[in-house]
């Protein structure tokens, strides 16, 4: 099955939950295993939170853009902001690195995305914004026997 979805919403922290639900709804037709769905939603949350907190500094009223597509059992999602950008991508990817370590940020966002997705690509330009692409191959479930 193939499908696509494009969404944008204001950079409000409550919209992290909205993004999670929208992606669950979009993926429901491929009947994901709940664990794989939870993993993917967690990755998406991390990217959306980063866009809101680091991209827009929580204060600006920018938009967060999420596009998603399904091709058979492969899901590709892009999370984009038009905010600050990431000055050093290598550093940002490092486990435990956070430019806001003094706050309660864990520095584990990219590490979580990388462990739960098959591919994580970062594009960013200083002052122009950031795009994170997440790709995950979901287990085909159609063959599972009907439960009763």
């Amino acid at each position: 099955m193939n499908n696509a979805l494009e969404v944008r919403f204001p950079a409000l922290s409550e919209n992290e939950a909205l993004a999670r639900l929208i992606i669950s709804a979009f993926l429901a037709p491929i009947d994901p295993l709940v664990e794989e769905l939870a993993e993917f939603k967690t990755s998406l949350s991390e990217a959306v939170t980063n866009a809101i907190i680091h991209g827009y500094d929580e204060s600006e009223d920018g938009w967060v853009y999420v596009t998603a597509r399904i091709e058979e059992h492969t899901v590709t999602v892009e999370i984009r902001d038009e905010g600050a950008g990431i000055p050093d991508i290598e550093l940002a990817r490092e486990p435990l690195y956070s430019s806001r370590a003094h706050e309660e940020r864990s520095g584990m966002g990219f590490t979580i995305m990388e462990s739960f997705c098959d591919e994580v690509t970062i594009h960013s330009s200083n002052g122009l914004g950031t795009t994170i692409q997440l790709i995950k191959h979901f287990t085909p479930t159609a063959s599972f026997s009907q439960v009763n």
């Binding site: 669950s24 709804a25 295993l33 709940v34 664990e35 939870a38 864990s106 462990s115 479930t141 439960v147």
Partner: protein
Amino acid sequence: IGEIQRYLRDDRVVKVSRTIRDHTIRIKQQMEAFQKEHERNPTLNEISQLLDMKIEDVVLAFDALRDPASLHEQLQE
């Protein structure tokens, strides 16, 4: 008074958060039972069939189950 109580229990005045909470509890129990029996986690459809719940309701309630604490434990392993 019985009539008023019945009215209050009627769907008309039930808030969405309330139904989601009820569904979440049932889904959590079902997931544990399923894991025991099949030695894998269920799909959205399997939960919806076993609980006779609409996929839409499963999606909404399942999201409320997340537990960031266990996630970090998982990553440390």
